[in-house]
């Protein structure tokens, strides 16, 4: 294969993997602190992307046209709004169901996801249509043979890496991170150590949902198009990525995200029967991986064994 072409595939796969990883990290965070699977995560991402788009429209109406300023305000607004939404979901939907079977949480968040998705479709102006998302990053690109290296892609990848590194720092080097890890390991012991359990859960949901908003904006900038259904698909893939990585492990989620993107790319490029079966291929490999390592590629450090 041509080297330029190969580089292009790698770049495509990296971008895709970064978005999957950001979604998967959310799943893994929620599972870590509360042992719940929150299926509305993908749709929170959609709402985040649409919040950013709405703030863009608002900024344009205010006459602000500096791309960087717009981008920063959009990002901040979307992230904060989704962090708040995540906290509300945790406080009023997930936590009250703590003592109910986990299936209830799964169902209620699944339904919430549908409600969020359909609300975007119904209440965002012309929400059923695909929406153009502004290209705010510099559009410079270098043509290297078949490889079209775009500055915006590089910037997005760098931002993604920075966000994940930041999260890693927060979890491993700060007091807050220590508290989150403590709650994840053992709720009751954490409580006896004076950790405010509710606050930590809410903060974790805020972080995870903020990450989803970031991924949503990134999705919009990358494809220059968003639609109300985008979170559904990303949610399923992010969830699968978190599972193959090992639910509860941040590294696992990141690994899972990139692995999944890699599988899809390989499925399209190398399989003789073209692209129609790339998802079949990717999910089949996921099934095989789970049969091989039921707890995921990277196990939660402390997993309960009965």
């Amino acid at each position: 294969m041509d080297l330029g072409l190969f580089a292009q595939y790698v770049m495509n796969g990296l971008m895709l993997g970064m978005m999957y990883a950001l979604v998967a990290v959310g799943f893994t965070l929620f599972f870590g602190v509360l042992d719940v699977i929150k299926f509305s995560h993908g749709d929170v991402l959609t709402v985040g992307a649409f919040t950013a788009l709405a703030s863009y429209a608002g900024l344009s109406a205010l006459g602000i046209h500096s791309p960087w300023l717009e981008l920063i305000i959009m990002l901040v607004l979307a992230t904060l709004a989704m962090a708040l939404l995540g906290m509300l979901i945790a406080r009023y939907l997930v936590m009250p169901l703590r003592s109910a079977p986990p299936l209830n949480t799964l169902l209620i968040t699944l339904m919430l996801g549908t409600a969020l998705r359909e609300s975007v479709r119904l209440f965002y102006p012309q929400g059923a249509n695909p929406k153009p998302f502004p290209a705010l990053l510099p559009r410079a690109s270098i043509d290297l043979g078949e490889f079209n290296l775009r500055l915006d892609n590089v910037l997005m990848l760098a931002a993604g890496v920075a966000v994940i590194a930041g999260l890693q720092y927060l979890l491993n080097r700060t007091k807050l991170g220590l508290a989150i890890r403590a709650v994840a390991q053992d709720e009751e012991t954490a409580r006896t150590m004076g950790i405010n359990f509710t606050a930590i859960v809410l903060i974790t949901f805020a972080i995870g949902s903020g990450l989803a908003a970031f991924a949503g904006v990134m999705n919009g900038l990358y494809y220059n198009e968003i639609n109300f259904g985008l979170g559904l698909y990303l949610g399923v893939i992010g969830f699968s990525a978190a599972i193959i990585g090992g639910l509860g492990s941040i590294y696992g989620a990141i690994l899972g995200g990139f692995l999944f993107a890699g599988l899809q790319t390989v499925g399209t490029v190398l399989l003789p029967f073209a692209s129609a079966y790339k998802d079949v291929f990717a999910f089949a490999v996921v099934i095989a991986l789970m049969a091989w390592r039921p707890t995921g590629l990277i196990r939660e450090k402390i997993s309960e064994r009965v």
Binding site: A128, P130, S141, E225, G229, L232, T268, A274, A276
Partner: protein
């Protein structure tokens, strides 16, 4: 004796008049149905169709000469085959509903034909273009006012060949709709024999990322990318073509003829091709009448590309019921014999499969943010050029 007879006659006459007045003030209610995608990615088309069918019902109810008062039952097929079968069964099982205008998506229309047949429920398809819907079986219940995708792909292949393009890559969604487009376009192109297909890519109907497929296509370097699918992924593919620096012509089908396609792409829509059966709404025989009435109702959404067909389908159903009464069997018999019947989309003739034999195909190119008829466009006059156009 004579007196009593007179009195009886007078009494009868009075009764008859009273009945007539009663009939005029409270006509018998008759239910008709509408099914289309009202939620999901192509819901703009479904809602446009629903409004148009609703318009037909409202106009008839406002007509004092109509024998019945009509009520339209609306169900949502979400453009998903499984949902479609469920709602089709629900509608067909309700004996009060006499007939329906059904389906925009081919995948849902083909999935439900057996259901309608089983229940003996007459339907007129208003937007789906897969040939098999009318031609796979010979069901008396199934009719269609719009044309099939065979004709539009013939015209499409002709235009591409005429413009001198030699290489085409095909992307199609893997529903019956996209596969049908791929099949008929590929056949038509091979028959003409001037251009060849360098690669065919099936994609899922809700896919977000096409960079892998498009990178592969970029390496094949085709002059044209044919896309057999609907607006939402059409927008994504065109957008991502630009991201990867692919300069090929974007050649679409009737599935992308909607305002949403242009709104979703902005300037990138320029120069995209599309084809659709029938003339543009404003050039239809009853297009002006339809648009006036439609706008007068102040619907929130436009009728979209197939609204006029939905209107025509519903109008035909109502015409039949007026003629033969609210009885499914009689309506089927009446619809089995439609020849040169006037409608806003022109004369309608159903062949022995219930298929309207319209052969007019309109070629479109997007110019300055509008679907312009190819022959009227700057591109046909060589004032502007498509990528690689000679």
């Amino acid at each position: 004796m004579i007196k009593t007879r007179k009195a009886a006659t007078a009494g009868l006459a009075a009764l008859a008049i009273a009945l007539a007045i009663n009939a005029a003030s409270a006509k018998e209610k008759v239910k008709v149905g509408f099914i289309g995608p009202l939620t999901g990615g192509v819901s703009v088309n479904g809602i446009g169709g629903r409004n148009s069918a609703d318009l037909a019902v409202r106009l008839r109810n406002a007509d004092a000469k109509a024998k019945y008062e009509y009520e339209m039952v609306v169900l949502d097929d979400e453009c998903k085959p499984d949902v479609a079968v469920r709602v089709a069964t629900k509608m067909a099982a309700d004996k009060d509903i006499i007939a329906a205008a059904t389906h925009y998506c081919s995948a849902t229309a083909i999935a439900t034909v057996d259901t309608y047949h089983k229940f003996g429920f007459p339907v007129i398809v208003w937007g789906a273009v897969l040939p098999d819907i009318t031609y796979r079986n010979k069901y008396a219940e199934i009719h269609r006012v719009n044309g099939t995708m065979i004709n539009q792909n013939d015209v499409n292949a002709e235009l591409i060949s005429k413009l001198g393009y030699k290489t085409v890559a095909v992307i199609h969604d893997t529903t019956d709709y996209g596969k049908g487009h791929n099949e008929y376009f590929s056949k038509a192109l091979a028959r003409i024999g001037k251009a060849k297909i360098v690669g065919t890519f099936g994609v899922t109907a809700d896919q977000q990322d096409f960079t892998a497929e498009l990178t592969k296509i970029k390496a094949l370097n085709p002059e044209v990318i044919y896309f057999g699918g609907l607006t939402p992924i059409g927008v994504r593919i065109r957008q991502q073509m630009d991201k990867l620096g692919i300069k090929a012509v974007f050649d679409g089908t009737s599935g992308i003829v909607s305002d949403a396609f242009i709104q979703g792409l902005g300037p990138l829509a320029e120069g995209c091709l599309a084809f659709r059966e029938g003339a543009p709404t404003e050039k239809l025989p009853g297009g002006k009448f339809f648009m006036e009435k439609y706008n007068a109702q102040k619907y929130e959404q436009p009728p979209e590309a197939y609204g006029a067909f939905a209107f025509a389908a519903m109008n035909m159903i109502i015409d039949s019921i007026e003629k033969v009464g609210p009885d499914r069997k009689k309506v089927i018999a009446d619809l089995g014999n439609v020849k040169d019947r006037d409608s806003i989309v022109g004369k309608i003739t159903f062949d022995d499969h219930g298929q309207n034999t319209v052969a007019v195909i309109t070629k479109y190119v997007v110019q300055d943010g509008k679907f312009v008829e190819w022959d009227d466009s700057d591109y046909a006059k060589s004032k502007r050029k498509l990528p690689g156009q000679k």
